[in-house]
C-alpha cells in the first residue's frame, strides 16, 4: 500500500500560478468569474497564499501553493454527518460528491480552508465543456470538493503498471500541479517508499509542515530556508 504525499520547495516557487491553471484543466474546475471572485468565492483546489514579512533587508513576499494537505488525522472527516468525506487506504482524503449534502461542516472544521463549495451550478464558458477531462467527474451545485492528489491519475497509472505486470515505481504517477511547475518546485510520490524523491525530501532539514501542533498530520511538506 502506498501513502501519497507531496513536497513543495518554497525557495524554488516563483508564484507563477501554473499549478493552479493545470489543476483547473485536469480536474474540470470552472472559473467562477469576476463578480463571484469579488464576493470571495474564488474556486481553486490549489491556491496561492502570499506571506509578507519584514526582514532586515526590507519587506519580502513568499508564495505558498496550498493544496489539500491530505492529513492523516483529518479534522474534516470526523464532522461529516453522512460519511461523504473519508480517509482512503492510501492516505488520500476522498470526497463522495453524490452523497455530500452540502452542510459545509467540513469546510468550517478544516483548519487550512482547503475545501471549496459549489455556490452555483458550474458554468462552462463557450465550448470548453467539450474539452473537459473525462477521467474526473463533474460536480453539481451544492456539494463540497477539494484537491484529490489527482487520484484518477494514480488509478490509471496503477492499471498500466498492472497491465505491464510490474509494480508502481517512483515517478510513474504525478499530479497535474507537479507536472506543470516550471521551477519543478512540487514533488509528488509515495511517502512509504523510503527511496522515493518525496520521502528523501520530506526528511530534509529545510522541511516543515503547516500548523503541525494541531495534530492533523498533514502529508504536504514545505521546504524553506526560513521558518
Amino acid at each position: 500500500m502506498s501513502r501519497w504525499g507531496m513536497v513543495i520547495d518554497l525557495d524554488r516557487c516563483t508564484g507563477c500560478g501554473a499549478c493552479i491553471s493545470a489543476c483547473h484543466q485536469e480536474n474540470n474546475l470552472v472559473a467562477v468569474g469576476e463578480e463571484e471572485t469579488e464576493r470571495d468565492r474564488a474556486f481553486h483546489w490549489i491556491r496561492m497564499l502570499r506571506e509578507t514579512s519584514d526582514g532586515p533587508s526590507g519587506a519580502s513576499v513568499r508564495f505558498l501553493p496550498q493544496p489539500c494537505f491530505q492529513c492523516d488525522n483529518p479534522p474534516c472527516i470526523r464532522v461529516c454527518p453522512v460519511h461523504a468525506t473519508y480517509l482512503g487506504e492510501e492516505g488520500i482524503v476522498g470526497q463522495v460528491y453524490s452523497r455530500c449534502i452540502g452542510c459545509r461542516y467540513c469546510m468550517a472544521a478544516c483548519p487550512y480552508g482547503a475545501k471549496v463549495f459549489n455556490w452555483y451550478e458550474p458554468e462552462w464558458l463557450g465550448d470548453t465543456e467539450e474539452r473537459a477531462n473525462p477521467d474526473v467527474s463533474r460536480r453539481p451545485k451544492g456539494v463540497v470538493e477539494k484537491c484529490t492528489f489527482c487520484h484518477h491519475r494514480i488509478i490509471i497509472a496503477r492499471d498500466e503498471a498492472r497491465a505491464a505486470e510490474r509494480d508502481l515505481k517512483d515517478g510513474d504517477v504525478t499530479t497535474a500541479c507537479a507536472e506543470s511547475c516550471p521551477a519543478r518546485a512540487i514533488v509528488f510520490g509515495d511517502l512509504d517508499d523510503p527511496d522515493s524523491r518525496v520521502s528523501r525530501l520530506a526528511g530534509n532539514t529545510r522541511a516543515f509542515r503547516v500548523a503541525e501542533d494541531l495534530g492533523t498530520e498533514p502529508k504536504v511538506f514545505y521546504l524553506s530556508e526560513r521558518e
Binding site: 463571484e36 464576493r39 470571495d40 468565492r41 474564488a42 497564499l49 502570499r50 506571506e51 505558498l64 496550498q66 479534522p75 470526523r78 464532522v79 461529516c80 454527518p81 453522512v82 460519511h83 461523504a84 452523497r99 455530500c100 449534502i101 452540502g102 452542510c103 459545509r104 461542516y105 469546510m107 468550517a108 472544521a109 483548519p111 487550512y112 480552508g113 471549496v116 463549495f117 459549489n118 455556490w119 452555483y120 451550478e121 453539481p140 451545485k141 451544492g142 456539494v143 463540497v144 503547516v210 500548523a211 494541531l214
Partner: protein, 452 residues
C-alpha cells in the same frame, strides 16, 4: 390534589377571559393570520430561489461558509429553554407564581424547536439528499448528535405541553366550542375523575423531571458543533455551559416579551400581574450577570493565552470589523438589562419590555459573534473574510420570525394561553396547601398539637 371536579357548565365562568378569544374568535386573528402568512410565503419564495440557483444567492463565501442560517438555528433553539426552565424547574420547586406562565412557556419551546430544527435543512447545499442522514449517517459527527438531541427534546416538550393541556381541552369540548370533533379528539376522554387526575399528575411529574436533562443536553450538543472543531474562538471547553446559560437567558427574555404582548392583546392583566414579571425579572437579572461572567471568562482566557490565531479572532471582535456587533451585544445583554432590572422604579412593564427586547437582540448578536468571526479569520495567511447577508437570508429570517408569531396566534386561537385548570387549582387548593407547607418550615411546637 384536585377535587372531584366535573365540567364547568356555568356561562358566567370565572376565568372566562382566558377562553373568550377561543369562543368568540375575532377579526384580529384573521388580520394577523393573513399578514403573517404573507411574510411566511415571502420567505418560501426566497427559499425557492435558493433551491433553484444554489446557495450562491446568499452572502456566504469562502471562508465564511456559515452565516445566518446557522446563527438562526442556534438562536431559535436557544429560546426553547424558556419552556424548560419556567415550566419544569418551577413546577419541581413548587413555585406557585408559575401557574399563569407555564403554558406560554411550553408553547414557545415547541414552536421554536420546530423552527430552529428546520434551519439546518435550509442551510444544506443539496436538501433533497436529507435521507442520506438516515441511510448513511455517522453518529460520530456532532451534527448527528444534534439531530438526535433536538428530536428527543421536541418529542419530550410536545408531550410535556400536551398532557397538562388535556383538562383545558376537555373544558372547551364540554362548552361545545367549534370545532367539536377537534377538542373531543384531543381531550382523550378526560372527565376530571380522581383516577384521571392522579394519572395526569403522575405523568406531569415524570415529564417535568425528564425534560430538564434533555434540555440541558440539547444546547450543550449544539455548542459541540463549534467546540469539537479546532478553530480559534470555537475550540473552548466553556462552550457547553456557556450555550446553556445563554439559552436560558434568551428563553426567559423571549418569554417575558411574549407575556407582555399577549397580556396586552388578550387583556390578561389580572392574570399576569406585576409580581409575575418581578419574579421573572429577577431571574433574568441573575442570568444576565451569569452570562457576563461566562463571556468574561471566555475572553480573558483567550486574551491571556495570547495565541496568535486566537488573538486575531479576539481583536476582530473587540476592535475590528465586528466591534459594533460585539459591543452591541455587551450593551444589549448586560448593560441595559442590568440597569433596568436592578432598580424597582425601572422594573415596570414597559421597562421590562425594553430589557427583554434588548436581551433577545443581544443574544442573536452573540450567536452571530460566535459563528462568523472564527470563520472570517482563518489560520493560514488568507485575507480576512467578510460576510454580508443577502436579501434571501434576511427574507428567510423574517419568515422564521413570522412563523413563530403565527404559531402563537394559531395556538391562542384554539387553546387557552393560560392554563385554566391550574389557575383554578391554585385558587381552590394551593392557598391552603402552601400555608400548610410554610407552617411545616417553621420550628415545631413543643406541645403535643402538631400542625399538619
Amino acid at each position: 390534589m384536585k377535587t372531584d371536579e366535573t365540567t364547568i357548565e356555568r356561562s358566567d365562568f370565572q376565568d372566562y377571559a382566558l377562553i373568550r378569544p377561543i369562543e368568540e374568535g375575532g377579526a384580529g386573528f384573521r388580520v394577523a393570520f393573513t399578514l403573517l402568512t404573507l411574510v411566511l410565503l415571502g420567505g418560501w419564495v426566497l427559499f425557492s430561489r435558493q433551491i433553484l440557483y444554489g446557495l450562491g444567492v446568499t452572502g456566504l463565501n469562502q471562508p465564511v461558509a456559515w452565516g445566518f442560517y446557522i446563527v438562526n438555528f442556534v438562536f431559535f433553539i436557544g429560546i426553547s429553554h424558556a419552556g424548560t426552565l419556567i415550566s419544569a424547574i418551577l413546577r419541581l420547586s413548587n413555585a406557585e407564581w408559575r401557574r399563569p406562565i407555564t403554558r406560554m412557556a411550553e408553547v414557545i419551546t415547541v414552536i421554536v424547536l420546530a423552527i430552529g430544527g428546520f434551519h439546518p435543512l435550509l442551510d444544506m447545499g443539496r436538501p433533497e439528499r436529507l435521507l442520506n442522514i438516515f441511510t448513511a449517517g455517522r453518529l460520530q459527527s456532532p451534527l448527528l448528535w444534534d439531530v438526535t438531541a433536538i428530536s428527543a427534546y421536541f418529542m419530550a416538550s410536545t408531550v410535556y405541553l400536551f398532557i397538562p393541556m388535556i383538562p383545558d381541552i376537555a373544558l372547551l369540548r364540554d362548552r361545545g366550542v367549534w370545532p367539536h370533533w377537534f377538542y373531543r379528539f384531543l381531550s382523550w376522554g378526560w372527565q376530571g375523575t380522581p383516577r384521571q387526575v392522579a394519572v395526569l399528575n403522575r405523568a406531569v411529574s415524570i415529564m417535568m423531571v425528564v425534560v430538564i436533562p434533555i434540555a440541558v443536553s440539547v444546547h450543550t450538543v449544539i455548542s459541540y458543533i463549534f467546540a469539537m472543531t479546532v478553530q480559534p474562538g470555537w475550540h473552548s471547553t466553556i462552550f457547553g455551559p456557556y450555550f446553556v446559560v445563554g439559552a436560558i437567558f434568551s428563553g426567559i427574555a423571549a418569554l417575558m416579551l411574549v407575556m407582555i404582548v399577549m397580556r396586552r392583546v388578550f387583556h390578561l392583566e389580572s392574570y399576569l400581574k406585576q409580581i409575575h414579571f418581578d419574579q421573572l425579572s429577577k431571574l433574568l437579572l441573575v442570568m444576565s450577570l451569569l452570562w457576563f461572567y461566562f463571556t468574561f471568562s471566555e475572553f480573558l482566557t483567550g486574551f491571556f493565552g495570547n495565541e496568535p490565531s486566537e488573538m486575531r479572532v479576539f481583536y476582530y471582535k473587540i476592535s475590528g470589523a465586528y466591534a459594533p456587533f460585539f459591543w452591541g451585544m455587551v450593551a444589549f445583554n448586560f448593560i441595559i438589562p442590568v440597569t433596568i432590572l436592578s432598580f424597582r422604579r425601572l422594573r415596570t412593564i414597559p421597562g421590562i419590555f425594553i430589557a427583554s427586547s434588548t436581551v433577545v437582540i443581544g443574544m442573536w448578536l452573540e450567536r452571530l459573534n460566535i459563528v462568523v468571526p472564527s470563520l472570517a479569520n482563518p489560520r493560514l495567511p488568507y485575507p480576512t473574510g467578510f460576510y454580508i447577508p443577502s436579501i434571501v437570508e434576511w427574507g428567510m429570517f423574517a419568515g422564521a420570525i413570522a412563523t413563530f408569531i403565527l404559531g402563537f396566534v394559531l395556538f391562542a386561537r384554539f387553546f387557552p394561553l393560560i392554563s385554566v385548570w391550574e389557575i383554578q387549582e391554585g385558587r381552590e387548593q394551593s392557598v391552603k396547601e402552601t400555608s400548610e407547607r410554610l407552617k411545616g418550615y417553621l420550628p415545631d411546637e413543643p406541645s403535643a398539637a402538631r400542625v399538619r
